[in-house]
Symmetry: C2
Subunit: 306 residues, 2 copies
């Protein structure tokens, strides 16, 4: 399977309260994902708190991941930064360390114009030979790509994919058909927003960029496999087991849930970077309960590879 | 006049394309503002591109400003950062370099909860003896302070002021009355969004945080003086001369206009940090024309102190 196809798993990046990355923790997490045969790993995505880590620490995390995965699973890495020159530096670092692809969101403080975002992508794509995925994440960046801008970006060398948010009305079939009818159809089109995973994959999206797959990769792969077979009954069955988790993703933010899940599943015991706070003890219990339910057996926690 | 009262002027921060601050340029700009007797200078605000500069360069800019102003004008400095520990470091730097106060916006990537923003402010305010102004700027941070959160923050030691956005319906009198009736009335209440300057000052806001005052301080001071005298006729006259500039602030973003204005007025010839692009030649001409009109004489550019 190609880089921007199938299930891309987005793990948290274990780090201490000073933003120092725990490289052994990174290695353990990506090994867990590679063992589960996810189609790719999205290191230092939003869930990987790229925005909160220094250039040096991002490089340390990537180096540890490349070494641990050892070519078994393609690695794409987030290179978003407020400044164009910083994003270029991060892209060069990613190529030098052996990443297979880049993800970049139009991080902004001063709201960007469509032209400014275009030039930002062109400048970063030109510094690397790696394929780049446009990380369209208005929930964190507050930037909205117009269809015309995505068409322009699809013509830029090295820009190969786009990670879209779920359409507001949940009409993924129509959203995908609209995109496939435009110039942007040159891009591999994937989605994120895990509660839409089943619908997006059944609709024929090229990829799904998944927070769930960062801690329960087998469940995400099960949905992808059944969706590829168009086995709607099986997709719905697995999706039902995840319903409580989807509710908590939407209520608390998937990042906050991912930290608790990683701890509950003994994958990593760390807290998110302040100002993001650990969730309440009550919410922790709700997340733990939702994790048990993903096995379809309310009495037992899901199995996790050692 | 106290620190968070009257006109606070927000200059750009001259820097090269690598984010290296031009300290002589900073000194020239703040001297211009101190000479015009603005009530305070807001260094490294949104217009001062704090979000795009490294800790070291922010420190260099502040050191140059403190030296140039030499105690003539109170200096407040932006210490916003995505990470709480980084914002604490910036607050310590500001105090060590001799700033008089701090401004802090709840910069975020993962959207913050009200509690997370509260704890972030408490943690930063506790690291310093300097008074802190809450920088409520949803246009850049996308964080919305609830009235209850502002009430809680008003009780925190060192938190002394709030910089509010203009209310959506332009009803500043009602907005201010609502705030004055709550616990948050312990805070000095100021506004930003320059096109609302005349209304906010006539309504009795304690302060106005002004981008215009960063390049045409005399015009902002003229509005403030006439507003303090409740001379509505004179306020309206000066405001009319600024009408085209306000339109361009709203259309292009005040940051982009401030860069052109600084160049037109020979205060600083620099470009904004990429990905922000210089405006088109046509928009540059429109800004230059709007600057001429601020003198009330369409034929002549305004006078600028050397």
């Amino acid at each position: 399977m190609a880089l921007f196809e199938g299930i891309s798993a987005f793990p948290i990046t274990p780090a201490d309260e000073h933003g120092v990355v725990d490289v052994e923790g990174v290695a353990r997490l990506v090994t867990h994902l590679a063992d589960a045969r996810v189609d790719s790993i999205g290191l230092l995505g939003s869930t990987g708190t790229y925005a909160y880590l220094s250039r040096t620490e991002r490089r340390r995390a990537l180096r540890a991941a490349v070494k641990a995965v050892a070519g078994r699973t393609p690695l794409m890495v987030g290179v978003g930064s407020l400044r164009t020159d910083d994003a270029q530096d991060l892209a060069r670092d990613a190529e030098a360390e052996g990443a297979d692809g880049l993800l970049m969101a139009p991080v902004s403080y001063t709201p960007l114009t469509q032209d400014e975002a275009f030039e930002h992508y062109v400048a970063v794509a030109a510094t690397t030979r790696l394929p780049l995925c446009i990380y369209n994440n208005p929930g964190t960046t507050h930037f909205n790509f117009s269809p015309a801008l995505l068409d322009r970006l699809a013509e830029v060398p090295n820009i190969a994919a786009v990670k879209m948010p779920l359409p507001a009305n949940c009409a993924i079939n129509a959203d995908l058909a609209d995109m496939r009818a435009r110039t942007m159809s040159k891009l591999a089109i994937g989605y994120s927003g895990d509660w839409g995973m089943a619908d997006a994959l059944l609709a024929g999206a090229d990829a799904f960029y998944s927070v769930l797959a960062g801690f329960l990769p087998a469940q995400a792969m099960a949905i992808a496999k059944s969706a590829a077979d168009q086995d709607r009954h099986e997709v719905a069955r697995v999706d039902r087991q995840l319903a409580r988790l989807w509710e908590l993703f939407r209520e608390l933010g998937s990042l906050r849930v991912a930290y608790v899940a990683a701890a509950e599943l003994s994958l990593a015991t760390v807290t998110p970077p302040r100002p993001i706070l650990p969730v309440s003890a009550d919410d922790q219990r709700r997340i733990a309960k939702a994790l048990w339910m993903t096995t379809g057996d309310e009495a037992e926690p899901p199995e996790v590879a050692a």
